[in-house]
């Protein structure tokens, strides 16, 4: 059976509602699973409408099928063993090359852009499905209802990728994760457990601005070494990252954000022992709200996600703590690298919006809808 996709069913506005098309999206892989294919007959078939070719991974006995325009599991009664899935044609990494798909929420599996060698998904560059986590990483986000997910690559010089999910109608930047350095990466969906891994589409494309340059969606960028006293801006709900180039030998680095004024703000500190703290400062008095001992070394990246009343702190791509009662100053948008401590150094301080808006959101909506 062949049937057309209903954009309304996918929760995506029609082309006219997005401004009539002409977004500058160039498809490298485009698969809407249009033609029904029984389990065992999916491998080696062409993506539809294309371009791209499907390769099935480890599906024995075969249960992966395409039915009613959905990549799903045949109801054969066979156990759904771990690790099987589908990969598509390899693509060359560049800033703004992105994968987008719908994935079933009930099944525990993985998706993303990474190298697939000998039918083994190689670690970094993917997410787990269900509760979104980095592969080999830590929990980063639980959507209320998982539907459209996207991975947007930065250039090989940055060697990372932005993980986004469309949650309650908005594109949320979940995490910016490491990726493999390989120049050719493969999109994949990999399934585990006994769920039904439904997917309505998978696409890979070169996206236009603001995604086609590193930090294209950034609110503020301080490249290279950042001096004490440097100020920055961020959205109220924000992603903030920086590298502790050199840990201080005494004192601590203090990065302030959601600054209401000089006496009322939030700060993340890193001291000479590698302890990282989250402090709420009210009328000049700091109150510790979170801490992790001895986890930050020179060269580690620190990431802060401020989302409404929750502030989550990561270092070296591990979630250290998440404080859920951060109601003070949650609409403030100013930040400052207040001090570096003695001998400390910080570099590459970047802020990104937690929730995408404007052209960035429009491009991702068009990408989800298969528009060019």
């Amino acid at each position: 059976m062949t049937r057309a996709k209903s954009l309304a069913l996918l929760g995506i506005p029609a082309a006219g509602a997005l401004g009539g098309g002409g977004y500058g999206i160039t498809y490298l892989i485009n698969d809407e699973f249009t033609t029904d294919r029984a389990a065992g007959n999916v491998d080696g078939t062409a993506a539809e409408p294309g371009p791209g070719t499907r390769s099935v991974i480890g599906d024995s006995p075969a249960v992966i099928e395409i039915s009613s325009s959905t990549l799903t599991r045949a109801s054969t009664g066979q156990p759904f063993s771990d690790g099987r899935g589908i990969k598509w044609t390899g693509i060359t990494r560049a800033a703004g090359v992105a994968m987008i798909a719908t994935v079933g929420n009930a099944v525990f599996g993985r998706f993303g852009l990474t190298r697939v060698s000998s039918n083994v998904i190689e670690g970094e560059g993917g997410w787990a499905i269900g509760s979104i986590r980095q592969i080999n990483g830590d929990f980063v986000y639980t959507p209320s209802a998982l539907s459209h997910v996207a991975v947007v690559l930065n250039s090989s010089s940055k060697n990372n990728a932005m993980m986004l999910v469309k949650d309650n109608g908005s594109w949320v930047l979940c995490y910016i994760t490491k990726t493999y350095v390989y120049s050719v990466l493969q999109p994949f969906l990999q399934y585990r457990g006994d769920g039904s891994p439904d997917s309505d589409y998978l696409r890979v494309a070169q996206l236009p601005a603001p995604f086609d340059t590193d930090n294209g969606i950034a609110t503020d960028v301080h490249s290279g070494s950042v001096s004490a006293g440097a100020t920055f801006s961020h959205e109220a709900d924000t992603w903030i990252e920086y590298t502790v180039t050199t840990r201080p030998t005494a004192g601590q680095t203090e990065t302030r954000f959601r600054v209401q004024d000089g006496s009322n703000y939030w700060q993340v500190t890193v001291d000479s022992s590698g302890n990282i703290d989250l402090d709420e400062v009210v009328s000049g008095t700091p109150t510790q709200r979170g801490t992790a001992a001895g986890v930050v070394s020179s060269g580690h990246r620190v990431c802060i996600v401020a989302d409404d009343t929750t502030i989550t702190v990561y270092s070296n791509d591990v979630q250290r703590f998440s404080y859920a009662s951060a109601s003070n100053f949650k609409s403030a948008t100013a930040g400052e690298l207040e001090t570096l401590g003695t001998g400390g150094a910080v570099s590459n301080l970047i802020t990104m919006p937690r929730t995408l808006s404007g052209r960035a959101a429009t491009i991702l909506n068009a990408f989800a809808a298969g528009q060019s």
């Binding site: 592969i135 402090d279 009210v282 700091p286 109150t287 979170g290 801490t291 992790a292 859920a324």
Partner: protein
């Protein structure tokens, strides 16, 4: 060594460095986060108690459980799901 997480009752310490839970002064923890969210303007509350979620090794948790200054509300071994 296995890691454990637990919610414990601790008191606030206030001094020239600000406010912090006593548990982080007394024990080497891997991480700790305020689970109560007492507004800063109300610190120190009466009674001076708050709940923190901590992660530590098993020996440290044993010591905290044996320490009459603290009450362990619950604890469980940290097990990461395979992905």
């Amino acid at each position: 060594m296995a890691n454990w997480q637990a919610e414990i009752l601790t008191e606030w310490v206030t001094d020239a460095n600000g406010n912090r839970p006593r548990i982080t002064d007394d024990y080497q923890l891997q991480s700790a986060v305020d689970a109560t969210g007492q507004p800063a303007k109300n610190i120190v509350p009466a009674p001076n108690q708050c709940i923190w979620l901590i992660v530590c090794d098993e020996a440290t948790l044993d010591a905290i459980e044996a320490d009459s200054n603290y009450t362990v509300l619950w604890s469980e071994e940290v097990v990461l799901d395979a992905i």
